[in-house]
């Protein structure tokens, strides 16, 4: 057990190293550097002055020295500064990360609130009309592209019915900390969260349904029934305990999907988070921000996957064999 955890954690080191190397190479390939960025729109900047500064900040050093310096700063949380917003990238991110985490968290919670009961119903009462309905829903949620679905939700509920605001994360006029503030925040979150969650249920429902159908026929379930355990208890105490645990472990795998989704959802609902920041920065060629975002979110997915692998190996020892 301990050996598996140790080995799985060690694999992460070359992964993080590779990620940082790729991000660094990409950053170097991006047109312009920190100096061109800082002097954008400044008519007094001569080529000589820029060259002088490049020398001073070590931008003419060999790449491995630059890489070492960059990664050293990044580990300490210093990603340079954005030339568009004229502030350190870390400060910039700190203002947006809360919104994205909130969006991701609620999306996850709602996904599980929808998916777990549906998965259980479909698995327990296989081939009934309820199961068929759930399987159909699952098929739709798998096939529908997120951005099309989000747009249709926005069009229907915000524009035609007018039930929800058409964008933003909170009404500007409302004071922070009041009850109205929280209500307004929830109103703004509702549609983005539902759009993400209704489509994200696919994996969980599919997994639960299949797993319950498989577990139903296992010997320990037969034993429980033979002993006279009531049907309700067979499910709650025996089957579900077996099938639900791995779902907790899948959380870490969801991170990559949530990041991809946040780019579409935040752009469609003009929700000020990391996904939107990524798009505006890349549009404005503000590459220090882009580099930092790719590095941070990449690290997040690597760590998330590692945690999931470890939790899953504890919950289900069969996968530890490798």
């Amino acid at each position: 057990m301990l050996k598996f955890i140790l080995r799985r954690t060690l694999i992460m080191i070359p992964q993080l190293f590779l990620l940082s190397l790729i991000v660094f190479v990409l950053a170097k390939a991006m047109p312009g550097d920190a100096i061109t960025g800082a002097f954008a729109g400044d008519p007094n900047a001569t080529e000589e002055r820029k060259e002088e500064l490049r020398e001073k900040f070590g931008l003419n050093d060999p790449w491995y020295e630059q890489y070492g310096r960059w990664i050293g700063n990044a580990v300490q949380g210093d990603f340079g500064s954005s030339y568009m917003y004229k502030q350190p990238v870390t400060t910039l991110l700190a203002g947006k990360v809360g919104n994205t985490v909130l969006l991701a968290l609620f999306t996850l919670i709602i996904t599980y609130i929808i998916a777990i009961p549906l998965g259980i119903v479909a698995g327990r009462w296989t081939d009934t009309w309820a199961d068929k309905l759930i399987v159909t829903y699952n098929y739709f949620s798998f096939a529908t592209p997120l951005f099309v679905f989000s747009l249709l939700m926005l069009f229907l509920f915000s524009f035609i019915l007018g039930w929800f605001p058409i964008g933003g994360s909170v009404d500007i006029k409302i004071e922070e900390g009041t009850w109205d503030y929280i209500v307004s925040k929830m109103e703004h979150l509702f549609l983005p969260v539902m759009s993400g969650a209704l489509l994200a249920t696919f994996g969980t429902i599919q997994y639960l349904r299949n797993d319950i159908i498989d577990t139903k026929l296992k010997d320990f379930v037969k034993t429980a029934r033979a002993k006279g355990v009531p049907e309700r208890k067979v499910y709650t105490k025996h089957i579900l305990r077996n099938s639900l645990l791995p779902i907790a472990a899948f959380l870490g795998y969801e991170i990559a999907g949530l990041i991809g989704g946040s780019i579409f959802i935040e752009s469609i609902f003009s929700y000020p988070g990391l996904g939107q920041l990524f798009l505006t920065s890349i549009g404005a060629r503000d590459f220090t921000v882009v580099t930092a975002l790719v590095m941070i979110l990449g690290t997040a997915t690597i760590i998330g996957t590692m945690l999931s692998d470890i939790i899953l190996s504890i919950v289900d020892p069969r996968i530890r064999v490798e």
Binding site: P145, V148, G167, I259, S267, I282, R285, V294
Partner: protein, 304 residues
Amino acid sequence: MKDTVSLNDKQLMAKEKVNNPSFMKTIWREIKNDKIALGSLILLTFLLLAAYLSPLFIDQADITRVYMGNIYKAPSADNWLGSDDGGRDVFGQLMLGARNSFTIGICVTLIAGLFGLTVGLIAGFYGGIVDNIIMRIIDFLMVLPSLMFIIVFITIVPQYTVFNFILIMSAFAWFGKARLIRSRGLAERELDYINASKTLGTPSWKIMFFEMFPNLSSLVIVNMTLTLAGNIGLETGLTFLGFGLPTGTPSLGTLISFARNPDIVENKWWVWLPAALLILVMMLCINYVGQAVKRASDARQRLA
């Protein structure tokens, strides 16, 4: 004596053919027996025929030409689905966009399929250390937030063309395929026919592509049909965000990207809504046919 033997052989082979219909025949039988899959296939064929044959009826140059007096016209007899910000006919662009999106989806699926197949076969055939190294790399690549990387690559690539776009998308679409083919390949390499062929001295690449691959082909076909829809969705999504097809090559995503302006979402629905619905219908159809193909590949799941 000899004649009877060969006759028997022939009869046996004929019988075998009847008992073991080709994969394509099984797929067709499966689709025929599933009314919704059959409907999806017919609808999809109809849509694609309309999109690919539309150049015969609609003047292509006319679609992309700007008519300043004709901006944002509501649907009428002249413009079936109205016109956009440049007075261009939306219906014509819809057909052109569907064609471009589908073609690119197919290209990405094929290129990624070929690449995934090669890597998967190599890992599965050699096994051991080769497999280990390839799999660690794929594990790493699969963890990356690929959407962000695709967008970054698209922005920094010099001379951005449709072809480059297809290559970048394919570069991030093969990991899952390679993993799938590798796991089946590992099981296949233990079988006698591979060992026999090795003993006879057949070169490895020949065993991989001409002996192993045919046995995995149904797996590849299933995977490709199922990922085709995903690739079309990703392409239109990227174009919607403004990181897809270069301007001048409209895709369905180009029309939907008009919806990033609230005024157009609300008041000029004819510009973006038809494209959004068309993508939805195409995705649903392709996936439904894909499900039928998947069932056909697994005898236990077949309905027919």
